[in-house]
């Protein structure tokens, strides 16, 4: 099967587009994980909670798209849980977030003698 043009475009590296699409998929996966967790996957139930139409919810939670902060915030309010987390420990810029949610490895942070994270190095999840 000759799909040479497809292969050629795929092989041309464009980290921006690739990362953008991957992040859009990550956010959609996270939204649907939370939708299942809190609303049994029901977009109708989410619509009731948000006080908007089911059609509008469907547009918000389906399809690769450039989510606005406003949309994500509204969904977070409805779920009562973060969709994405922003690292805000400005004193420790070397802290790495592994993944799109707060799955950072605490062992990479300094701990005191009791095994607890040093206060100044705690990662503060920021709502968006």
């Amino acid at each position: 099967m000759n799909i040479e043009n497809h292969i050629q475009i795929l092989e041309e590296k464009d980290d921006y587009i690739h990362d953008l699409v991957r992040t859009q998929m990550d956010i959609l996966d996270r939204i649907h994980f939370l939708l299942d967790k809190y609303f049994d996957g029901s977009q109708a139930a989410l619509a009731v909670k948000m006080g908007i139409s089911e059609a509008r919810v469907s547009k918000m939670v389906n399809g690769l798209q450039n989510f606005t902060l406003s949309t994500l915030k509204k969904l977070e309010q409805a779920f009562g849980e973060n969709i994405i987390v922003v690292p805000c420990d400005y004193d420790h810029e070397d802290i790495q977030i592994d993944g799109y949610i707060s799955t950072f490895n605490p062992t990479s942070l300094n701990v005191d003698t009791k095994g607890e994270m040093v206060e100044s190095q705690k990662l503060i999840p920021s709502t968006i």
């Binding site: 587009i17 690739h18 998929m25």
Partner: protein, 162 residues
């Protein structure tokens, strides 16, 4: 018209099998016809084209999950927001690659192009593909209900009388 399903090995991955179809009397498949014009679509819609090519690549490892697609009928790639589309004039509604998503792990790519009217069925460029996709999807659905097609089995070279 007889339609034969063809597997696109290059686009398949651990979580996704990708197919296209070949119409009776045609030398190549629908997706090959679409890709022939990809350089043209890319000239006016570079980000859109790159994004759906990358999306298909990412789906190899993640599957063609339902929520990756806008809930339209027929379904298509890419879904980009209006501000992301490089609109060159009022008659440009972005690129469409019509698809049939049978399951998270089964996707059929068909044909498409640049949509020039608000309603897909009215577009002189993609209207035919829009209608063909709906007709084929309806037929496949009925064959699944009648158990004449089993999507748990390999679909390559399965023929459908459309």
């Amino acid at each position: 018209m007889e339609i034969t399903i063809k597997r696109i090995d290059y686009l398949c991955g651990p979580k996704l099998s990708v197919y296209t179809v070949k119409k009776e009397g045609y030398a190549v498949t629908e997706y090959e016809l679409f890709t022939k014009d990809l350089p043209v679509y890319r000239q006016s819609h570079p980000d859109e084209v790159k994004s759906f090519i990358d999306a298909l690549d990412l789906m190899k490892e993640r599957g063609a999950k339902k929520h990756y697609f806008k809930p339209t009928w027929p379904q298509y790639l890419p879904k980009m927001d209006k501000e992301s589309i490089e609109i060159s004039d009022n008659n440009d509604y972005g690129t469409r690659l019509y698809v049939i998503r049978l399951r998270d792990d089964i996707l059929i790519l068909l044909n498409g192009g640049i949509k020039t009217t608000l309603k897909g069925q009215d577009c002189p460029k993609v209207g035919g593909y829009f209608k063909f996709t709906k007709k084929l999807e309806k037929k496949i659905d009925s064959l699944l209900v009648e158990k004449e097609i089993d999507i748990n089995n390999e679909l390559h070279d399965v023929s459908i009388d459309l």
